[in-house]
Amino acid sequence: MSAPTQTDDAQTKDTDARKVKTARVGVPKFGGLAERVAEAEDAVKEWRGVGAEDTSDLSARGSVFLKQRSRRLLGSLLAPHKTTVWIMIVVVVMENAARLAIPYLVSLGIDRAVPPIMHNGSARTLVVIVAAMLVTIIVQGLSRSIFQRMSGRVGQDVLLEIRRRVFMHFQKLDVQFHDRYTSGRVVSRLTSDVEAIQEMLSGGFDTLIRAVLILIGVGIMLLTMDLKLGLVCLCSFPLLMLLVRWFSVNSSRTYRKVREFSAMVIVQFVETMTGIRAVQAYRREPRNSEIFEDLSGSFRDVNTTAFRLVALFMPGVKIVGNVTIGIVVLYGGYRAIEGDLTVGVLTAFLLYLRMFFDPMQDISQFYNLFQSASAALEKLSGVLEEQPAVNEPAVPTPMTRAKGTVEFEHVDFAYVEDRPVLPDLDLTIPAGQTLALVGTTGAGKTTIAKMIARFYDPTGGRITLDGVDLRDLSDDDLRRNVVMVTQENFMFDGTVADNILFGKPWATRDEVIAAAKAVGAHDFISALPQGYDTDVEKRGGRLSAGQRQLVAFARAFLADPAVLILDEATSSLDIPSERLVQQALQTILASRTAVIIAHRLSTVEIADRVLVLEHGRILEDGSPAELIHAEGGRYAALYEAWEESLA
């Protein structure tokens, strides 16, 4: 007997549920849908324009199942479970042996146990057989339970391990990698790709193993019980294989189409809803509905094709199965009449055949799960093979609390070879100084800031903190002493206090409040419904831009680094916030080295020293007061422009 999911009725839900994600589509040779879909795609191009496809994702989904690096990853993930896997193999073989034994015992029961009773003989054989069956059932039940738990645990362990490894690895990879890779891809690696693997592990793995084992087992049983009848049954084999192949080929060929159209429907929908302002303001609704109906129509049609493929495949398997059963009844019945075959064996054949055909339908489903899982594995293993360009030293120079002298010694840097951003930069920032960086776009201000925070390493020369090369510091020591606050003002999920604590997770509540007070954030935080325990909501949606900036400042103040790097926000704040932020700046800049990328003149004015940069070179260097009066200086011109605009 097979598990209920393997029967047609129960499968419907399963089949269908999976289809939403991994609809398997094919292009049946009738109906001409393929042509219409192609036409629709051409039509779609007309209004969508031409786009560059991400070919790297496509090739990964190709026909090569498991490339070497995926296999390596899989191997290393399974290595800790070697023993368990071997036990699992033994258990699953046992389980299926027991499962296969039952029809055989039934046949014995009918052939050997019934006749003695019919002739008023003893029921001993019957008792023996029934006892044997009971034992078999217990073995089967137990081994099934054990196998499911084991495979479930190994699967979950593997998932957890993948999640951990990939997450950790992404955190380790340098900023330059992330600049290129984008956060969207990071998220999809760790969510949809991991889920694809999970789906295979929970959805199909078990089924596949059992289907294959049963396939082999049933084949052997049929042939040994009765060679001729067995051979007749096995004639259905090639037919089935043809069916499965037809289905698999078609499904993988158009598998992408459903996904594409589903993605287009989703994008059209999300774009409309997020851009509803523009949609309504520009009376786009009718055209949108046209497009949406067109896309949904195509989506419906490729889906219909997909459903109909299943509608052909499943009854196809059924028909082969039923005809085979019919032939067995005929041929077996004929031989039974001739006395050549017992009724018991005939019954066992019928039971086996049922067992045989049901899992066949599952293998085909598994095919697509397997394909997307292997594509996901491929991408994940690719990520894991990336090496971070910024590494911790093997033997770090210890540093507890730096004084805060930062020095650039003949520093070269280029994002792309031959296009230097910083050519041979020499710069000394004495401890305690506030340095404002100004200059044109692309002058290298952000690069200098990021290099002090060691987001990038120089391509030549060295950057030192209190005379120690940054590359010789452990990450902990470096981050304790150097903190960079970007204009993103990123808020993490959690409370306001959690967000400030990010600067120093082990700080007490008093320290948190003290930090908030120092930057002038205490008042607004206290006014929130739950004060410091108010949830900031997704991405800090609860707070205004100015409030987020103050929380970010409090975070930095709490971390209390020797060197603070600040990419000042450009977002326009309301006047009270603006004043608050200015005051906060003064507080957090005091008593430490500070480097500010200044977007406001008011910030430049509180700096001790201003650097005017262009193309990675220092053009002017001096205090704001000095530079204002420098004849023909850039900073002087800037100041003049400002005064003019307010005249």
Partner: protein, 646 residues
């Protein structure tokens, strides 16, 4: 609802042949393809709530929304009826086949009747074939029907959402709407294709087979009936646990995903503070939580499947033991015994899935409720009866205008009076959060005023047809929205029939020449799924789009904020040209933008506090001076200086 895909293609291309005169409304409407926007949603109206004894309305019945969806099934009635017929017949065939096998064994085999064997054997085979064909027919027929229903609901929902006002969309995240459009709809579709059918068929099959078993040999039948009890009980119980565990896993997967997003989006902050370990621990804690819950599910599943296999197998043993004994004493025939075992095993599946189908029905009810909630939301911003005299002059008046968000305690805007003469441009200056964006949204009626009124050429805008109003008023937003379509289609959003010359001109005004250099020029797909553009490029396209509309009233909501200072200067020069003869509202942060306007209105504390020229306000209003000063960005200025120096 034919699936003719080529049709929309040819019809869409007609779009290009639209008459060139945008004011000629009649022909525009005539050439447009009819869409779901042109008809009411097919969902049945909400029935009047039933009243309890005291006359209070009772809460809606759980099945009410689901039942209201039945109108979507009626176009496919024939297909749904055949689904039931084919389904019932195929279940019938499933039941009959073992009975034929029994006849074979008891009749021809026992009596050595060759002729009978052939007849019955072929009958069995024929039945098997018929069963498969019936399954094929059912699936084939119903796929079109259910997917058609899904499509119909989907386009209706989309149309409804497009008509709902901004106030609705402010409340609803697009993710929530998306899950209604994708997952809730497929839940409904699944139930229609399988759940509904098998809820009936499985119950039927269980009852019929049990009766047959009892008829075949009642003592054995009783044993089976007894064993069905625990299975049914177990299935119901476990299914409940299973559903709740699945929900928890879904939630926890969401938690893990949100930490992943944090780790990705906040990466630079994390690195900067050296908190990788901290964020990893948070991630790990959630992953382990998910692991634990998943393991619970694994255990539950393993118990469930084990039970589900052991109980029928145990029953089989008992049946066989008794059956063999009974056969031995000629109480039953061998054929009966074989048929009995086969039929019995065929019961397991329907019983196991019955629980699933019941929970599917419940999920469908919830999903229908969620959809009905959207369909039942009122469209508060709708067409009025009046028409503007042609040509539109663009005299814009705000009289005592106020706006309060629904549910908010205080107004965002109050007592705003502003009279903008045709052709005049007014700059709006105010701090972040002063309500500038809401004010600009009131003019095209993205929001409706909650106090006072806005008139164009003396007519209250609420009395105008929306399409007409929005043709007269064009807005470029601070956060420009580009859609995943060609640059050209993005540009001509407000005026699909613009000529190439007009497009070129608008591009020129907005300094958006970069579009010509895109890989496929104006045909390049941009937006979410296409070429990604910088903030400044997007703003320029949005500006070009607004300009291209050639409106009588042009609203620029801080449209230049992401431009570099050099481009901004060029755009401002060009805008000056465009704004001649157009009534303009320009939200401005910088002195240079303010200079585009004839007058400046200062917005503070939710109302207009000062109106005057730039010089006047600089002189007399300290807050104004401070505002403009704060927006002086050294980097931009240096860029400009460098540009000038060249």
């Amino acid at each position: 609802m034919s699936a003719d895909l080529s049709a929309p293609t040819s019809e869409t291309s007609q779009q290009k042949d639209l008459p060139n005169n945008p004011t000629d409304r009649g022909s525009v409407t005539a050439a447009r393809i009819e869409t779901a926007l042109d008809r009411p949603a097919a969902i049945l109206p909400k029935p009047a709530p039933k009243l309890d004894k005291d006359g209070n309305p009772l809460p809606r019945a759980s099945y009410e929304s689901m039942f209201r969806m039945r109108s979507y099934m009626s176009p496919y009635l024939g297909r749904f009826v055949s689904m039931f017929v084919f389904g019932a017949l195929s279940v019938g065939a499933t039941i009959v086949v073992p009975l034929v096998t029994k006849a074979v064994i008891d009749g021809p085999v026992a009596k050595s009747d060759h002729h009978g064997l052939w007849t019955l054997g072929f009958a069995a085979m024929g039945l098997g074939v018929v069963e498969a064909v019936l399954i094929f027919l059912r699936r084939w027929t119903v796929s079109k029907a259910t997917l058609g229903v899904e499509y119909d609901i989907r386009v209706d929902l989309y149309a409804k959402l497009q008509r709902l006002p901004m106030a609705f969309h402010d409340r609803w995240e697009s993710g929530q709407l998306l899950s209604r459009m994708m997952s809730d709809l497929s839940t409904i579709r699944r139930f229609m294709s399988f759940g509904l059918l098998f809820l009936f068929l499985n119950s039927g099959q269980i009852i019929v087979v049990t009766i047959i078993l009892l008829n075949l040999y009642w003592p054995l039948g009783v044993i089976v009936v007894i064993s069905i009890g625990p299975i049914v009980w177990l299935c119901f119980k476990i299914n409940k646990q299973y559903v709740s565990l699945s929900r928890r896993i879904q939630d926890e997967t969401g938690d893990v995903a949100s930490t992943v997003e944090e780790g990705a989006h906040g990466l630079r902050v994390i690195k900067s503070f050296g908190r990788s370990r901290y964020i990893f621990e948070k991630f790990d804690q959630r992953s382990v939580q998910l692991y634990d819950t998943s393991m619970k599910k694994v255990r539950l599943q393993s118990n469930f499947w084990t039970f589900l296999e052991v109980i029928p197998n145990a029953t089989l043993v008992v049946v066989l033991a008794f059956g063999a004994y009974a056969a031995g004493h000629s109480l039953v025939t061998l054929g009966t015994l074989v048929a009995f075992t086969t039929l019995m095993t065929s019961l397991t599946a329907p019983i196991a899935t019955l629980g699933m189908q019941i929970s599917q029905a419940q999920e469908t009810m919830t999903a229908s409720d969620r959809l009905a909630d959207i369909f039942d939301t009122d469209i508060t911003i709708a067409d009025g009866p009046a028409e503007l005299a042609q040509p539109v002059r663009g005299h814009l008046q705000l009289q005592g205008v106020g706006f309060t968000f629904p549910g908010a305690t205080g107004p965002v805007l109050h007592d705003i009076d502003l009279d903008i003469a045709p052709g005049e441009t007014v700059a709006l200056v105010g701090a972040t959060g002063a309500g500038k964006s809401i004010l600009t949204g009131l003019v095209p009626r993205l929001y409706d005023v909650t106090a006072g009124k806005i008139t164009v050429d003396g007519i209250d805008i609420r009395d105008l047809r929306l399409t007409e109003l929005r043709q007269v008023v064009a807005t470029a937003f601070e956060e420009p929205t580009l859609f995943s379509m060609s640059a050209r289609e993005n540009l001509t959003l407000g005026r699909p029939n613009a000529t190439q010359d007009e497009v070129d001109e608008a591009i020129d005004v907005a300094q958006a020449h970069f579009v010509y250099d895109l890989p496929w020029g104006l045909d390049t797909r941009i937006g979410e799924q296409g070429m990604s553009l910088s903030g400044g490029q997007r703003q320029r396209l949005a500006l070009a789009r607004a300009v291209l509309t050639k409106p009588a009233v042009l609203v620029l909501d801080d449209t230049l904020s992401a431009l570099d200072i050099h481009t901004e200067a060029l755009v401002e020069q060009a805008l000056k040209r465009v704004l001649v003869g157009v009534t303009g509202i320009v939200v401005a942060h910088r002195a240079s933008t303010v200079l585009l306007a004839d007058r400046v209105a200062m917005l503070s504390g939710g109302t207009i506090t000062h109106v005057g020229s730039h010089a006047e306000l600089l002189e007399t209003v300290p807050e104004y001076r401070e505002l403009l000063s704060a927006d002086f960005n050294p980097q931009d200025e240096f860029d400009l200086l460098e540009e000038v120096a060249r």
